[in-house]
């Protein structure tokens, strides 16, 4: 009776990207985060390429050894995070708690070191608006080691990028503490490890952003 189009069989439910809601949601959210960091990092690249003069050479203002250690910490925290995930997939509650705690400690230390670094930089005269008059760094400017023309946007971009990264780490640590408490109460199992996997994705993403930032902000 009816037209062919009507008689198409109901296609098998091809629902989903094959992943559960929370994980899918986190990946979608990370897409948004990529664009957010694109705005910040992209602006930095653009400002740097179009800068009216040479940029401060690496290592003159920023403390490379300390940040290299911080990079190491964040990489460690990523491993501990993925270990936590592997543990709960295997159903090992004890290891899950151990690795989560390790991740929290690494993350919190990272933030602590960054706060220390900021305090130190500000003390030496490096501000979001540029170099403070009469500070230690102002002498470098006077001596010509530190280009004056770009010092202003150097501070602007540095604090904005690393600041928002640090903010993301802080949020990550807070969420992780929440996951940790849930783990203490046995909230995860080998059949439902959603919270651990989802916070893990976020955590690794923040680590990934830092890897990029470390190179283009500190080393270049």
């Amino acid at each position: 009776m009816a037209h062919v189009a009507v008689m198409e069989p109901p296609a098998a439910a091809e629902r989903g990207a094959g992943v559960y809601n929370e994980k899918l949601g986190m990946w979608i959210f990370l897409g948004s985060e990529v664009m957010f960091f694109t705005a910040l990092i992209g602006s930095y690249i653009i400002l740097r390429v179009g800068a009216p003069g040479p940029w401060a050479p690496p290592g003159v203002v920023l403390n490379i050894p300390v940040t290299a250690f911080n990079t190491f910490l964040l990489i460690c925290s990523s491993v501990s995070m993925v270990k936590a995930f592997a543990s709960i997939v295997d159903g090992d509650q004890q290891k899950l708690k151990f690795w989560l705690l390790a991740t929290i400690l690494c993350g919190a230390t990272f933030v602590g070191i960054q706060v220390y670094e900021y305090a130190h930089l500000i003390h030496r005269g490096f501000l979001p608006s540029g170099i403070r008059e009469g500070s230690e760094l102002a002498e470098l400017v006077a001596r010509g080691t530190l280009p004056a023309a770009t010092a202003g946007i150097y501070g602007s971009t540095f604090y904005t990028m690393t600041g928002f990264h640090g903010f993301h780490v802080t949020c990550g640590v807070i969420c992780m503490i929440w996951v940790f408490f849930k783990a203490l109460r046995g909230g995860y199992s080998a059949t439902d490890y959603r919270g651990v996997e989802v916070i893990g994705l976020y955590w690794h993403f923040v680590d990934l952003v830092w890897i990029i930032l470390f190179t283009i902000v500190y080393l270049v």
């Binding site: 189009a5 559960y20 929370e22 948004s32 653009i46 010092a151 904005t160 439902d192």
Partner: protein
Amino acid sequence: MATTAATFDQVGHASHVDDRSFIRKYIFSTDHKIIGIQFLIMSLLFLALGGALAMMMRWQLGFPGRPLPGGSVLPETMAPGGVLLPEFYNSLVTMHGTFMVFFAIMPLLVGVFGNFLIPLKIGAPDMAFPRLNMASFWVAVSSGIIMLAGFLAEGGHAGAGWTAYAPLSETPEYSGVSLGQQLWCVSLIVLGLSSMLGAVNYIATVINLRAPGMTWFRLPLSIWALFITAILVLLAIPILAGGVIMLLFDQTIGTHFFQPAAGGQVLLWQHLFWFFGHPEVYILILPAMGMVSDIIANGSRKPIFGYHSMVFAIMGIGFLGWIVWGHHMFQSGMNPTLGQTFMISTLLIAVPSAIKTFNWLGTMWRGNLHFHVPMMHSVAFVAMFVIGGLSGVFMATTPVDIYIHDTYFIVAHIHYVLFGGSLFALFGAITYWYPKMFGRMMNPFWGKVHFWLTFVFYNLTFFPMHQLGLHGHMRRLYDPTQYEFLRALQPINRFISISAFLLFASQAIFALNFILSWFRGRKAEANPWRDNTLEWSVPSPPPHGNFAATPTVYRGAYEYSVPGADDDYLPQHRRLPTDPAPAPQPAGH
């Protein structure tokens, strides 16, 4: 694969007894239908406010320097003796654009219809993340309150246009505005958070919660459009947030992103803003296009013409929208060679738009046209969007844009696509889904009166703006009579203003119809428009949880006038004897 999804799937249960308290049910509700209605009320209020600001602007433009009737209630800092001050006029333009774009049309399309329609039309009990959804609304409300607070700020509200070009927008010495602009920034950052939460939700919901049989190419076009729109929101809004954060930091903590004296780049702001801004204008039209497609097929009692090309056209517009932002910056001092490439990519958007336009015509061709109120608005949408789209071609052409950039030709374009396009579609969509939202019909007689008055006065208001632009009338001009060559145009300005007042007054009919029908409208049956999609298979309004049992879908959304069927529509969930039995549901459903 399937196992994981099934193991964790908690949603998908049938509706259950509703025992929530009043507050959980209507204020902090996680029900997507209630959240949609909350967004509707919020954004209609902002629409009315944006309209009121436009009326003040039109008064000043039509009758420069004369005291605004009733304007003496405004404080001295805005309008001493009722005469608008230039700085207040700038705030009016800015806030008119901001409210209309960010607080009226965008939440109406995405917040209201994204929320209300997606779960219902794909056969899901709710969104993938109902609590995030609730958060999204209340975050949007806070953002609106912050934006409104700007009017009380010392120095006045933001006044650098809705595009907030730096350095005017970030330097109080140049603009006289400081706190107002900062609140503008904070509000948009907060609103960005709300939109992002919404977008994550919509995308995840469409991907994961479609009912059995609801394949991608059986989705109604409104859902396709909302899905692509959500992707645009997801990826564009963070760019705006990033840019606005830099703008805010320049004002508050002394950074120099957009300050050339300290090494910043002025054009960087424009690049960031428009990289967001152009996808944004498609955010403001795609859902309208989708809903219009649904309504036109229904009003024509005919399958939508070229369903697949319609879907690909939506994707095409969505993608091309990312590579055309430079067309707002042709005269900005941007690299002229880059301008050439932006001209070509911009012109190419005419192609998917043409596909959509002609497929709407194709849908009506040999149809059986019923002119219910939503259909009238949808037909007007097609007619008006074409005018706005074609005027876009003038501006896309770089040499012609040299002349008409930043003139009223652009203002005419804006309003043909945004009012003639989006807002007409919204009037139609609100009338169409009103019964599903509130269980009552809007009054069709007053709906038609409102339509005709709006259609006529809208054209009388905005069509002559093309002429103003062609004679060089600049935008954002407090008092055009300062220029000799514009004085001759003052009669047009006055004519436009009077039409605009009548246009605004006509909206009272819609407001009254909307409010009164809520209490006194005719009770609506489940499927008053004899439509095919799933939301019409459940009572009006649908119960908490939407569907008594997860529906199974057997066909596309547009099977109207199928030969041999006993009615002129064939719902997606109706199983014909020839249809194979539904696949057994996986455990957990």
